[in-house]
């Protein structure tokens, strides 16, 4: 018998599952708009329930044991859900993102008898389960359900490029699943239990153990593949760019960040007592994070296909999140969690703008769309605002997350990571602002290096009014900017400490106040260069072009789209993680 509010814990997972199954059972009897209505209501219900759970979890994590199997004699027999405040709020954010996405996609998928909504609701349930669980194998199950739902949702458009992207996505993420399963097997054999707390206790008793390090290597590799960290990031650009835009909103807004969320939870809670892992983590995470932030930003600037550009920008921001995690402190991880929510809101809004362009202008190519956005200028304002928020405009959740991460890194003296983060954010912001300027203001006649980037003729069904598509986009941006900073500051030390299972700290430090402005300035300079290239003196333009072209071609060639390459890089990545762990 579990007391309210712990009894609420299964509901955010069970309700979408029940509605999903009911919709499938009656798939051919459903009237036209019912799937949309049901799906939106379910997502809203999930968001509200998770919010209530998060508020109640402020005093301490809520725990629920499934099947009535409470732990006996210190041995965990059943599966448990353990929700701390931070996990609850992340789940609530996910529910809200889904609700707004369903509104955005209203009527878009009406030919499929609700199958899209079935898959999306399953995706939602899996994400919430992933946030809530305290069992390693249950984590894997929700990871796989997320992956399978994502695979099925990617190839909706059935164009040839969509198939290649979907296949690459499926194979790479399946390999991630296998790695994770191997890691779980190893840690189970060594510790005899599958529960987070049980494993943590056994790891603490064990001392330096190669099996624990091996298990962490595999599990971390799997989560970093999902989180699109270099050298595992190749699948994201392919898959993301070809999925329909409502699905892309979820991929970048929630799915990629959840991989890093999982990594944060597992490394802090399960492997928190392993000295070897904790010594290896800063070098590993900050190193990979810097590289990812820079590579993602650079590649974003070189794209002309908007969704591909946004995919690379997600990679860059995932790198920034990883550096925040690598600080291994309450402000670093807390900042990363706030960043997850802020980035999800802003990136989701950007993908909605991309969807609006696809539906109203029947193209997603930045160069082809030049000047054509004038008729839908509200979308242009949204895009410009989102671009500014991405590069660090000191307003809202994303900025707060950035400053917290920067504070954590500054405190520990990771100057390179700070610079990499600032540059990465500036590059991605520059790319988005340049695209906005080109599409909505008609600037930038000289295409520059972007002309050589991959692109495709694409369009999406144009059956929704502009306000129906723009509304959720603006709602996301409003949420990002609207949450009061004081609320976060007050709750964050307590929430992040509970998340990491560490004693509560008094306050968190923030980074230098001028850093966001530096990043914004750099982004505006970059966008200005891109847009006004033909007006600038040759003295300025030629050196920049010379530095850009050769590395550009090399980087673009690496992102070949061939699954064989991706598999080779996957092996290299796992070897890298193993090497860093061995040296720690």
């Amino acid at each position: 018998m579990t007391a309210f509010p712990a009894a609420l814990l299964p509901l955010p997972v069970a309700i979408p599952l029940v509605i999903c199954a009911a919709m499938l059972a009656t798939a051919h009897l459903l009237p036209a708009r019912l799937p949309d209505i049901l799906a939106t209501l379910s997502a809203l219900t999930v968001a509200v329930l998770c919010g209530v759970i998060a508020v109640r979890a402020a005093d301490g994590p809520l725990v629920y044991w499934f099947g009535g199997w409470e732990p006996r004699d210190g041995l965990h027999l059943g599966i448990g859900f353990s929700v701390d405040e931070a996990s609850g709020w992340v789940a609530a954010f996910i529910g809200l993102l889904y609700a707004l996405t369903f509104v955005f996609a209203w009527g878009f998928f009406d030919r499929t008898h609700g199958h899209f909504h079935i898959l999306m609701l399953l995706f939602l349930a899996a994400m919430v389960g992933f946030c809530f669980t305290r069992d390693m194998f249950n984590l894997f199950v929700w990871f796989e359900v997320m992956s399978v739902a994502a695979f099925a949702l990617t190839a909706y458009h059935l164009a040839e490029s969509g198939l290649a992207g979907a296949i690459n996505f499926t194979v790479v993420n399946s390999l991630a699943g296998f790695l994770m399963l191997g890691g779980i097997g190893l840690i189970y054999a060594q510790t005899g239990t599958l529960d987070f707390e049980g494993i943590a206790a056994a790891v603490a008793r064990g001392g330096r153990d190669p099996v624990v390090a091996g298990a962490f290597c595999l599990v971390a590799g799997a989560l970093m593949i999902k989180g699109a960290i270099v050298p595992f990031q190749f699948w994201l650009a392919d898959a993301h760019a070809v999925a329909p835009s409502p699905v892309s909103v979820i991929f970048s807004g929630a799915m990629v960040s959840l991989g890093l969320f999982g990594l944060a939870k597992v490394s802090a809670v399960v492997f928190g007592a392993s000295d070897q892992v904790q010594h290896a983590l800063p070098a590993l995470l900050i190193g990979l994070g810097c590289f990812t932030a820079l590579l993602g930003g650079w590649m974003a600037l070189l794209q002309r296909h908007l969704k591909r550009m946004l995919a690379f920008s997600t990679i860059s921001h995932a790198g920034i999140m990883l550096t925040g995690l690598g600080a291994l402190s309450v402000d670093g991880t807390g900042g990363m969690l706030v960043y997850v929510v802020g980035h999800g809101l802003v990136k989701g809004a950007l993908f909605m703008v991309a969807g609006i362009l696809l539906a109203t202008q029947a193209s997603i190519d930045e160069i082809a769309l030049r000047g054509l956005g004038r008729g839908i200028w509200p979308a242009g304002i949204a895009m410009a605002l989102a671009g500014l928020l991405l590069c660090g405009l000191p307003l809202g959740l994303l900025d707060q997350g950035t400053r917290l991460i920067q504070g954590a890194l500054a405190q520990q003296g990771h100057g390179i990571a700070l610079v990499a983060g600032v540059i990465g954010a500036a590059l991605t912001g520059a790319a988005v602002l340049r695209a906005a300027g080109r599409i909505f203001l008609g600037l930038g006649p000289d295409p520059g290096d972007e002309a050589g980037a991959p692109s495709e003729d694409e369009r999406e069904k144009a059956n929704r009014p502009l306000w129906l598509m723009l509304g959720p986009c603006c709602a996301l941006l409003a949420l990002d900017m609207g949450v009061p900073a004081g609320l976060i500051e007050h709750a964050l030390p307590r929430a992040a400490s509970a998340f990491m299972h560490r004693p509560v700290v008094d306050a968190v430090s923030e980074g230098p106040g001028w850093l966001p402005w530096a990043s914004v300035a750099a982004a505006l300079a970059g966008a200005g260069y891109g847009l006004l290239r033909n007006h600038l003196p040759a003295l300025l333009v030629l050196p920049v072009r010379a530095t850009q072209s050769a590395p550009t071609r090399a980087l673009e060639a690496l992102h070949s789209g061939l699954i064989g390459d991706y598999a080779a890089w996957l092996a290299v990545g796992v070897a890298m993680i193993a090497a860093v762990l061995a040296m720690a």
Partner: protein, 135 residues
């Protein structure tokens, strides 16, 4: 002898990954992914084994007879379902790829062509102008 199951698991994963990296046929690639998955089966079942243990079903034997680890068996059952779903999805994608592209070669199916194939008139002509003047 006691390292053989684990060594076999590691080998299977490695050879499966090699197969994926050098595959020239999508159906072969799906098979290689299956080989990678078999590595996890061997690892899990090997970790759960006990010499002389019966299957964890106490129908013919009384409860309390030493049995192998039932948790690992349940994990492998889930793994098998995962494998079935992945194979089904990948084969469907392969069918569609063959229908659209006419080929089953991973090397020939690329997500997007570089240089942009956007058919919009003004964009294309401007691109070709600029490319000529800047190259």
């Amino acid at each position: 002898m006691s390292v053989l199951p684990y060594a076999v698991a590691a080998w299977l994963f490695g050879i499966g990954l090699y197969g994926i990296a050098t595959s020239r046929n999508f159906i072969h690639l799906v098979g290689c992914l299956g080989v990678c998955q078999s590595a996890t089966y061997v690892l899990l079942l090997g970790l759960g084994y006990r010499w002389g243990g019966i299957a964890p079903i106490f129908y013919d034997h009384p409860p309390g007879t030493p049995a192998v680890d039932p948790v690992m068996q349940a994990l492998v059952l889930t793994d098998i379902v995962v494998g079935a779903t992945l194979t089904a999805l990948l084969l469907v994608l392969t069918i569609q790829a063959h229908k659209r592209g006419g080929s089953l070669d991973p090397e020939k199916l690329r997500p997007m062509r570089a240089g942009g194939t956007s058919g919009r008139g003004q964009g294309a002509s401007r691109v070709s102008d600029r490319e000529q003047s800047t190259s």
